[in-house]
């Protein structure tokens, strides 16, 4: 789960990471009040779950409170990469001497949290990794012992020469490690970590991504989810316990299992079609999920045909067939539906579908060919 910069700042602040004062605003008036309290020139930053905010005009300087209100009124409501800005962060414009990068990711290869730090901060770390890998220090942390003091100093000495800066940075990496582990993060990042002309070391921007699997046991973190920052269809899908990702094509897909769902999209492409979505109804079958899935897929007018691809293991195919029948009773589906199902309770499923005048195929390739043809005909 992505959280906003202002929320990540709050997590870092709670761990003691030093940063400039600042606050979040939902209206120009609020932004003006924050700017007045801070005094001097401020930066107004759009809070959206996407990169490239600066380039899109979502990060602007304001010399006084009135200007902050004006800038905020232009940023609030703007659309960045398809996402509407509902909140802005107002922070003082810093007098920056240097910019560094400090990040912590959950690394699959070492199966540990791995620090990545670089004195070349403020820019895309992937770019630094590609062009100047010697400017990055990677350090895996043994989660059983945590970040050891000499590790913290190794990281800090890679960033700074002046010992006062080193000491401050060593404390900050320890605090960041705590934010990472205590909040079940998959990423925690300070970019940039800055030094100021008066010798302080501060976090200027923060990013934290929380492992979705933490949310059940951490309702406090689940509260940080901002559904207004997500695609509405994806929000509806999550509420129905479906995994749904919107794509650009016109063949709607309903599949059980993530791997098979991906392979189904790939096969649609293989036969010359274009998938409209990724949708996994999950392992345990429930007719209500199928109804929700059809409702979400048919709400997109671009969808010209729908494919069900169900391999019944734990999923009972008759539950899926019942879901299709119930959905068709509840609301009209105006596009053709092609159903492929095989496995658990297949005979019962076929009988249910036959009863409502639908055919069931047992072969995946045949079903995909048919749905691609149907979508082409309707387009």
């Amino acid at each position: 789960m992505n959280i906003h910069e202002y929320q990540a700042r709050a997590l870092l602040k709670a761990a003691g990471v030093p940063m400039f004062d600042g606050d979040v605003a939902s209206t120009p008036t609020e932004a003006e009040a924050i700017a007045r309290r801070l005094g001097g020139t401020v930066v107004v930053k759009a809070q959206v779950h996407t990169g490239g905010r600066g380039k899109a005009g979502g990060v602007k300087l304001a010399a006084n409170p009135a200007e902050a209100a004006d800038v905020a009124s232009r940023i609030l409501g703007m659309s960045i990469n398809g996402l509407t800005v509902h909140k802005v962060l107002v922070v003082p414009a810093a007098d920056i001497a240097t910019e560094a990068y400090v990040g912590l990711i959950m690394d699959r290869e070492t199966q540990r949290p791995v620090f990545m730090v670089s004195p070349a901060g403020g820019i895309d770390i992937e770019e630094v990794a590609a062009t100047a890998p010697e400017k990055i220090l990677r350090l895996p942390v043994d989660p059983v012992y945590g970040l050891l003091p000499h590790h913290a100093y190794t990281l800090a000495f890679f960033l700074y020469r002046e010992f006062a800066h080193v000491k401050a940075a060593a404390r900050i990496v320890e605090q960041l490690y705590r934010v990472f582990t205590e909040n079940g993060a998959s990423l925690a990042e300070i970019n940039p970590l800055v030094t100021t002309a008066d010798g302080r070391v501060l976090a200027l921007d923060a990013k934290v991504t929380v492992d979705d699997n933490e949310l059940d046991r951490r309702p406090d973190l689940a509260l940080l989810r901002d559904e207004s920052a997500e695609n509405p269809a994806e929000v509806a899908a999550r509420r129905a316990n479906l995994t749904f990702i919107k794509l650009d094509g016109n063949v709607g897909c309903v599949v059980n299992g993530a791997g098979l769902a991906m392979a189904t999209m790939d096969l649609v492409k293989y036969y010359g079609g274009d998938p409209a979505n990724f949708l996994d109804i999950g392992g345990s079958s429930n007719p209500d999920k199928v109804v929700a899935a059809l409702r979400i897929i048919t709400s997109d007018p671009r969808v010209k045909a729908i494919l069900f691809n169900i391999f019944g293991g734990i999923t009972r195919t008759d539950d899926v067939a019942n879901g299709i029948r119930t959905a068709l009773e509840q609301f009209p589906v105006k596009v053709p539906i092609v159903v492929r199902l095989t496995g658990t309770n297949e005979a019962e499923a076929v009988q249910i579908l036959t009863g409502i005048g639908m055919k069931a195929l047992s072969d995946m390739d045949e079903a995909v060919r048919q749905v691609v043809a149907a979508a082409k005909e309707a387009a």
Binding site: G184, G257, M262
Partner: protein, 289 residues
Amino acid sequence: MSIFADRATRLVVQGITGRDGSFHTRQMVEYGTNVVAGVTPGKGGLRFDDKVPVYNTVAEAVRETGANASVIYVPPVGAAGAMYEAADAGVRLIVCITEGVPVMDMTRVLPFVRARGARLIGPNCPGLITPGEAKVGIIPGNICAPGRVGIVSRSGTLTYEIVNHLTRAGIGQSTCVGIGGDPLIGTNFIDVLRAFQDDPDTDVIVLMGEIGGTDEQMAAEFVRQSVTKPVIGFIAGQTAPKGRRMGHAGAIISGSSGTAEEKIAAFEGAGFGIMKRPLDVVELVKARL
């Protein structure tokens, strides 16, 4: 022969009285798996379906029944605890079916299990099956047949699709292993490839990967250096967008790494037969048996 599980497997089911645990225990017993015990704290002394003895702890189950393998069907919050307990009790094979285990938990579980010499498969996996001998997990037994093709995969139903194609074409399997779709897992492709390479009853290996991470690339490198048996590969997610988690927690293209293209290129470089679609498995395997 086979890998990881066979007739000698003596299985304990952790979470045997739960909804999923009880359903799948019946399926495993019906398949002929030697389920010797179940564990549900507080239900010790019961008999599951009047047959399988239930214990309060895994240690007790191991002591009383000689269980040497465990399968875990407990909810995500309890899954890490169940894995620690199984490893501490001296079980050699631990299969964790549970989906949704916090990754932070796995950073501590994995070294713990390794230090005790156990093999962990999963979490978030369908388990494994050695057709005709033992089923540990949730792979439907009726789609499998005994034979000489080893299967390893990061997914569940996609594996069933491929196995089904093979069985219907009269091609059986030695063992099918689902290693799981999470970013941090106990057994990776290389572990399974090594076991299949050493298994005299496996002639051809089918490997099903997906977008995200570098496990497939490392597997390809391992095959190039250390596997003499023919390998056939598939990558799911060729049409997946970047930066989105495709259902499996581990199936995500981060930045520009973990794409289907780079994985397929790695497979080609290691001489794999490449499946463009699931159905291709039949012809590719036939040509190599």
